[in-house]
Structure formats: C-alpha cells, structure tokens
C-alpha cells in the first residue's frame, strides 16, 4: 500500500528533516516535555539503549532518530488509545550523535534531543 511505502521512505532519508517529513508529515516542531533516557557514553555502539517518555497527552506517534547516522531514522511508533507516551528500544550508532525524539500529540509535533557519545574506550582510571 502507499501508506506502507511512505512509512518506509523515512528510513532511506539522509537527514533528520527529510526523515521527519516522511514519517511525521512535517519537520517543524516545538520543544516539548520529553525525557530521553540514554547512556551519556555508549558501552557498545551496536547496542545503545534509548527510552523516550513524555507527560504530553494525546500522543499518537513517536520517532527516534540518531542524527549522525547515515540514515537517521531508527524507528517510529504508532500508539493506540490508552497507550502511554513511553517507548524503549536499543539502536546502533556509528559515531557520537544527538539522539532526537519527536512526538506527535493532537496533530502537533514536539521534539527533544540528547547527546550520546561513542568513545574508543580504554585508558580508564
């Protein structure tokens, strides 16, 4: 279906903005009351745990993007009635990057971001 095709397009997008246009229909957003929980330093770039949470009501969509990845969109979520604005998953990151979470609530987009550093490691005290 065309809906599915457009939902998949976001994963091919090379920028946060293009990915958001594709998956959320727009890339304009306000900063919102969104909490991203993620390690400051990734233990393993191949498995970076990310939790997105919000107290906003009427949230229907959540997208999680790693801005520095070649294709920033990692995943998007459609929430049913009564589903909380809370999603946790684990993503791959090639390099240090801002993690961007975008929520759609009552048709309006909100976003927040947080830096996760991927370090070479070693040399610790």
């Amino acid at each position: 279906s065309t809906v599915l095709a457009s939902a998949r397009e976001g994963f091919e997008a090379g920028s946060v903005s293009d990915a958001l246009k594709s998956v959320m229909g727009s890339d304009s957003h306000d900063s919102g009351d969104i909490t991203i929980s993620a390690p400051e330093l990734a233990e393993n770039g191949a498995v970076v745990p990310i939790t997105v949470e919000s107290s906003l009501t009427g949230v229907t969509d959540i997208a999680i993007l790693a801005a520095a990845n070649n294709n920033p969109l990692t995943s998007s979520y459609k929430l049913g009635e009564g589903t909380k604005a809370y999603v946790a998953t684990r993503i791959k990151m090639g390099d240090s990057s801002d993690i961007v979470a975008v929520l759609k609530a009552n048709g309006q987009l909100y976003s927040s971001s947080r830096e996760v550093k991927v370090t070479i490691g070693g040399c610790g005290g």
């Binding site: 976001g10 979520y77 999603v87």
Partner: protein, 102 residues
C-alpha cells in the same frame, strides 16, 4: 520455540511490556570474511494487540540492534488478559506469541 520472549506486568492500572526478539537485524552494509555483502535482513514491523485493540505498531529500520528489545506501557487491561505480539521482517518472515498479563 518462539523467537519472542515477552513479559507483561500490570501495576497500578498500567501494563508494562518488555520484549526480546531473536533476529539478526542485518543492515545490508556488512561484509563477511570472504568480502561478500551480507544481505539486509531486519524486522520492519512489530505489532502489539490485546484482543482486537491495537496497542502499538513499531516501524523499524536496520539500525535497531541485533536481537531487538522493545518496551511500552498501556492502560485499560486487566490481569489475565492476553497480549499478542507479532513481527514481520523485510524477507516476509514473521512470528508471533501470546502472553497473559500478570
């Protein structure tokens, strides 16, 4: 055995779901020791339902980690309700499992 391990726990009216799925989540960017590209092979969609109620649909790309993890929370279920979790990957393979909310 199912590729999905899932725990669904009810507390104060909120069901907390945590799921682990066995899947390679190949990006299509990696090469094997012989220099051949390992084909992309990743889950594209995960769906959670309670009876006919759609709780969550996850659209995933190849940058979700190998053996993926997914957690979400919802209201309005009762202890003993059945949660169904299913996935489809880019090859058209799929799996599903059911768990009782405790």
């Amino acid at each position: 055995m199912s590729s999905i391990r899932v725990r669904a726990q009810l507390s104060d009216g909120v069901t907390n779901v945590r799921a682990l799925i066995s899947h390679p989540m190949e990006t299509g960017q990696r090469t094997d020791s012989g220099g051949n590209t390992i084909p992309a092979h990743y889950i594209t969609e995960v769906k959670a339902k309670v009876r006919d109620r759609e709780i969550l649909t996850a659209n995933w790309g190849p940058s979700i980690s190998r053996n993926p993890y997914l957690s979400f929370q919802f209201e309005g279920a009762s202890s003993g309700d059945t949660l169904e979790l299913s996935w489809v990957d880019n090859n058209g393979d799929s799996d599903s499992t059911q768990v009782q909310i405790r």
